[in-house]
Each structure stands twice: as structure tokens, then as C-alpha cells.
Amino acid sequence: MPSLIDLRRRIRSVKNTQQITKAMKMMSAARLRRAQERVISARPYATLMRQFLTRLVSALEASGAMDPQSEEPLHPLLVKRPVKKMLVVVLGGDKGLAGAFNANVHKAALNFLRDYEAKQIDMITVGRKPRDFFRRRRDLVGDWADIFAKVKYDDARAIAKEIIKRYVEGDADEVHLIYNEFRSVLVQRLTIERLLPIEAPREEKKDEKKDPNAQPVEYIFEQPPKELLASLLPRYVEVQVFRALLESSAAEHAARMTAMDAASKNASEMIDRLTLNMNRIRQASITREIIEIVSGAAALE
């Protein structure tokens, strides 16, 4: 049986831990609010751009996506090749103590690697945790760490530049993003998204009769499509990467807040249990002492 002093010490230590988890929870809550605002206001642009580009690409593909004069593809990012080499960009956090946040990303990435075992897969990691996790397992072709303290568009631009470079030079025939999408404070959804090549809307949408995507739109181009694509496509990659960074960062704060809330609750429970235990032991020792005195007195009579 543990002594009273041991229990007191134990309670004090749990209380200290609880103070830390509580503080971390508050900090995550404050950061989450900011990150959440940013991601929610960045979503419409990314979504509109994605829809716009999807329609544009399918319109161009209907006409072959070739430059009528030079018979060359309109833009290197529109070229589709048989998929031999893949690039996967894994977005995780810089710090731990966020529940299953990082573990989920790692697991999804490992599953991805297993699913496409036959292909050559290169990996880029964003965040310190996925870097440390995967660097021991395979070569990383790029890594960005310590950018989640403040997500900047410039970071997205740098990552996008690397992705574009690899795609254009033929080092990657398909590019996927793996990240946690921020759904709500309690829910993060793990997302695997194909970034490149840009997908034309699928046939399966046919049953939605009102869908304007059902057939390629015939656009009037105010500028030659080639000119338009030259600036639009790199920007598209940047915007999607940026959104993924924001999603992941908001999801991380949400996950950490939930995890730290649970930890604080567990600590409370533990303190209650230990306190009860301690009181019991104290009571027992008091009772024992009384019995000793009483029986001592009785023996004297």
C-alpha cells in the first residue's frame, strides 16, 4: 500500500501536468480560431478556381489541348503521361501532442505507398513530424519544416514551384497531396487529393442533369488560351497547396485542442481517484491509531 506522502506527491505531479495540458488547450483554441478563419475565407477562391480550371481543361481537351500553330501541348502542366512515377506530398504538423493527427497522416501515406508499390514514388514532406518519420524509411526529394507557426503564401509558392518543376521535367507523372482537412473542431478528415494532372469532370456525374459540367463549354477566349494557361496553371497549383497548408494547420490546432481537453479531463479524474485513495488511507491510519489507544487503555483496566 502506498504511503500518504507518496500519494500526495503523485497528486501534485498530476496537477502540474494538468496545468500544462490546460494551458496547451487554451493556446490551441486561440490559434485554432485564427487558423479556422483563414481557411474558411480561403476556401471559396480555391473551389472557384478548381471548378473554373476543370471546365476550362475539359473544354480544351475536347479540342485536343494542342496549340493549332505549333502542334504542341498548350502547357507542360496539361500533358498527361502514362503513370510510372508518382510524387506524393505529405502534410503533417511540426509538433506532436495533437492526438492521432500526425499518426493518421503517416498511416495514410504508408498505405498509399503500399497501394502503388509497383510505381516509383517520390515523396515531399511538409512539417517536421512527417519528415522525421519518413526520412528514416526512404529518400525525400524535398522537405519543408517549421512553416506552420505562420502559414505564408510564399511557402506555398515554393512548394508549388518544386512540384511544377518535377512534373514538367517528367520526374512525376501524377502528384498527390495527403493532408488532414479541417471539417469542424471535432472532426478532421484525412484527404488524398490528386493535384496533377488536372482532371476533366468524370462521366459519373451524368445523372445530375443540371450539371453544367456535363459537356465541355465552348468558350470565347479574350486572350489566346496559351497565354491564359501560362499564368493560370502555376497559380492553380500554388492556390491548392496553400489551401492544403491552411486546412492542415487548422486541423492540427483542432486536433491538439481536443487531445489536450481529453488529457485535462483524464487528469481531473485521476486526481479525484488519487484523492479518494489518499483519504481512505488517512482514515484507515486514524482508525488504527484509535484502536491502538482504546485497546491500550482497555488493557490497563
Binding site: 483563414r38 471548378q51 453544367p212 463549354v217 470565347i220 479574350e222 491564359l228
Partner: protein
């Protein structure tokens, strides 16, 4: 007809409109419902849209517009509603750009100065009209 105007950091406008005027790179585009599908780059200027009897104005710097028969999407690099425009700042930017262009110094990136001048002018026009 629906109009969406978004910038990378926010959705500014998402509303039903009667008509809209957009500064395309090749000149202003007046768009009414049932317009033929069209894609254009944006130039610095003023977007003006009418809904019921009221008219709203926004300054945009650069971006893209996609027109569909019942939907206009504007993806702008920056966009501000007329009331949000920081006039003194735009005026200062205009002055700075003009001075740099006039100075003719070797290290002046003329293209950048012109672009920044155009943006400032677009903002001022939107704010004052």
C-alpha cells in the same frame, strides 16, 4: 445571374445580379444574363454590378473572369469594395509610381511601376466615382 468575386483570402461577393461590367485585359466587358461562355484575364479597374436599382463598385488589380450563361466568377488577385479603399494610401502609391517613372533612373523597373500606377489609379477611380 449569379456573381461570385473571390480573392485568395476571402469571398467578397456572392449574390444575384442583373448585369455587371468587368475590366478585361482587352477592354471593359458588359455582361448580361445569357452571355456566351467567355474567359478573360482581368486588368486593373473597376467592377460595377447592378442589382435591382442599386449599383455596387469594386476595385480589382488582376486576375481572371469566367462567364457562363447564369454565372460569372471573378478570381481576383486583390479586390476592394469602394467603401473599403484606402484613398490616401492609393494616392501615395500613385505619386510614388509617377515619380519613379519620371525619374528615369536605371534601376527602375518600368513595367512594375506602370502596373503599380495602374492599380493605384483603378483604386482611386473606384473610390471617387
Amino acid at each position: 445571374m449569379k456573381l461570385d468575386i473571390a480573392t485568395p483570402d476571402r469571398l467578397l461577393v456572392s449574390t444575384e445580379i442583373d448585369s455587371v461590367e468587368i475590366p478585361g485585359k482587352a477592354g471593359y466587358l458588359g455582361i448580361l444574363p445569357q452571355h456566351a461562355p467567355l474567359i478573360s484575364e482581368l486588368a486593373p479597374g473597376t467592377i460595377e454590378y447592378k442589382h435591382g436599382g442599386s449599383t455596387e463598385k469594386l476595385a480589382v488589380s488582376w486576375g481572371y473572369v469566367e462567364v457562363l450563361p447564369q454565372q460569372v466568377s471573378v478570381l481576383a488577385e486583390t479586390a476592394e469594395k469602394a467603401a473599403e479603399i484606402d484613398v490616401p494610401r492609393a494616392e501615395a502609391a500613385k505619386k510614388r509610381a509617377e515619380e519613379r517613372i519620371r525619374s528615369g533612373a536605371k534601376d527602375v523597373d518600368l513595367e512594375r511601376c506602370m502596373a503599380s500606377l495602374e492599380r493605384a489609379v483603378a483604386r482611386l477611380q473606384t473610390a471617387k466615382s
